[in-house]
Amino acid sequence: MASKDVAPLLAREFVAVKVDYDRAKGAKEIEKLYIDKEQGLPWFAFLDGDGKALTHSTGPKGNTGFPVQPDEIVHFKTMLKTVKKHLTDQDIAFLVTSLEEASKKK
């Protein structure tokens, strides 16, 4: 697989914005809109166009950050299924498989 396979899938569903937590002015203020205590980095959330968080990377066992462990990948899959509008079940399965394969290389 190549990133050219993964990136377009994510772009189909999301507009991505990365906030440099340490350096960016206003990063902490944006964080406070969505989380009330530090979760570790990276941390991410899926928002609707009004800025409402629909789901985020803090799973049952804490922040999944980069989903690597099986339970983290399960949480990421749940996140995708929560918001899916443009992604198909097949797309989500592909993304999950990508994570599973990447985690095996660890």
Binding site: F14, A16, D20
Partner: protein, 207 residues
């Protein structure tokens, strides 16, 4: 825009190993049995087989991802002052502000005995001279040269050693201004609403 998620995309595509967990698990005590390993040659600071131009291009792309700067360290493995640069990096003046984790993508380009990568160095305005290595060039995220300094300019009372205070001042002066999180955040919300998509809000740091 998905490039902002480049680490995740690379990991999912198998081009990058998964990073360490967000919160490191507690360290286990060192096992009592120590397995002897054959001695390994120390890792070379300057990759003497790398393509310097490609190294710089890769660093610029990475710096652009994080909106930070590139520091090109032009030098050679058999130059004592070049070889001691990692010690300078560990000085509190340098490690404290986390220049090389948060502010700069640092790359080492091998110039041998001033007989390698000279055209590349010239293209980036690096003034290489005997006894003045390493030479440092600061590039912005578009690859434009912002500043340069030789080891002679950054040396302390001992001309054979870099002065961490001078190096820190040089790095601090030329680091990128702190980005403003609000405009891209609002732009992403606006774009998502317009396109009927969601926002993938990702908090991270350059390291």
């Amino acid at each position: 825009m998905v490039l902002h998620l480049l680490p995740l995309v690379l990991m999912m595509s198998g081009q990058s190993p998964p990073p360490p967990p967000a919160k490191a698990p507690p360290q286990q005590a060192t096992p009592a049995v120590v397995v002897a390993r054959p001695p390994q040659a120390p890792r070379k600071l300057y990759n003497d087989t790398a393509d310097g131009a490609a190294q710089i291009a890769t660093a610029i792309a990475a710096a652009a991802e994080d909106d930070i700067r590139v520091l090109v360290n032009w030098g050679a493995n058999d130059d004592e002052r070049c070889a001691r640069f990692p010690q300078v990096q560990r000085a509190p003046e340098i490690s404290g502000p986390r220049f090389f984790s948060d502010e700069y993508k640092l790359i080492y380009v091998d110039v041998g005995h001033l007989d390698k990568h000279l055209e590349v160095a010239k293209a980036y305005g690096a003034k290489l001279a005997t006894g003045e290595l390493p030479y440092f060039t600061v590039l912005d995220k578009a690859g434009h040269v912002l500043a340069g300094a030789s080891a002679r300019e950054l040396a302390g009372e001992d001309p054979a050693a870099l002065d961490p205070k001078k190096v820190a001042a040089f790095l601090s002066k030329h680091q990128a201004p702190a980005p403003d999180a609000d405009p891209p955040f609002k732009a992403a919300l606006s774009q998502a609403k317009k396109d009927g998509k969601y926002v993938f809000l990702w908090f991270s740091v350059p390291w």
